[in-house]
Point group: C2
Chain length 190, copies 2
């Protein structure tokens, strides 16, 4: 779990004994492409760290799939709102690529935060970072054209386009597959 340890330490210093205490609760899991970590109706008991792979976070409303996020290498994730509120999820976390995650249960995570002020701080700082990332993403969505956002995504996360089918990327960008295809065509003509 060197990668997880390193990730945590990139936020704030943590003593070896606190780190050892925290890491003992994480379990390594191998996930097969096509399986579901979470489906609508389920309660969310766990928090995940993606060691390697890709999970797509989406909902289906009125038959329309809406991709909210792709979680790839090095990211912490879960379906946070139902996780916190202890209500059933309305979303999917679908394994889009064979993956390896480290999993910690909510009750264990709370034990860790209780036990270690440093790891509680890590929790605060990682949440802060998640907030900022998301805030910036929201402002991109609001202020940029679809074409600009497509180009930015190409630049910021080029590997996504190898890993994930285009219609899911379209959904992530808030477009229809037809719309994304038109944008690509327009760009290729220039």
């Amino acid at each position: 779990m060197k990668d997880l340890e390193q990730k945590i330490r990139s936020f704030t210093p943590v003593s070896d004994s606190d780190m050892e205490f925290g890491l003992q609760f994480y379990k390594r899991e191998e996930l097969k492409k096509g399986s579901h970590l979470i489906q609508p109706g389920q309660y969310i008991h766990d928090f995940y760290f993606m060691k390697q792979g890709c999970v797509t976070y989406y909902t289906i409303e009125d038959g329309i799939t809406r991709v909210m996020e792709f979680f790839t290498d090095g990211s912490f994730f879960t379906d946070l709102y139902p996780y916190i509120e202890e209500i059933p999820s309305e979303s999917y976390l679908e394994v889009t690529e064979d993956s390896v995650v480290y999993t910690i249960s909510k009750s264990d995570a709370l034990k860790v935060f209780d036990h270690s002020h440093a790891l509680e701080r890590f929790g605060r700082l990682s949440m802060q970072k998640a907030f900022i990332n998301n805030f910036q993403r929201m402002n991109r969505i609001k202020n940029l054209s679809n074409q600009e956002r497509y180009l930015q995504l190409l630049e910021r996360r080029p590997s996504l386009f190898q890993r994930v089918p285009q219609y899911l990327i379209a959904s992530y960008l808030g477009l229809t597959p037809v719309g994304l295809s038109k944008i690509r065509k327009r760009l290729s003509k220039q």
Copy 2:
């Protein structure tokens, strides 16, 4: 500062002595409508709690004002990214209504988090809440029509429409004033 204290305790239990320690660093400030808490180029030293009033958080790019948020009674706020990274802001925090805020400097806030595990936890939980709010807002932006979002805003924060001119609300919704006016007209005809 009863309201601030209550707000903090709504997140997690905090002992009286920790609370006293934390609150001592907050300063009450009265802000006049039209003044600026933050302007582009400035470094952000403080974190704010809005006791009462309204502050508009926006940028101006290519002469276009883009409203990112309205901070009203009971919310914690600052220009978070420059605050954390200690880089100059590119945004405005403009007082849109005579307001009262409690202010704490970044260095004092760090002291508080160092001193009290409970308040560090409050920091984590409040950031978590901010993240979720924002995530849900982003998904509204992505998945709802402009008309639906206008109606939701009317329902969720009706007082905004009394406090803030319509062209700023249009910007907040990602519309032009003309666009919002059309939506309102369409709705009034039904």
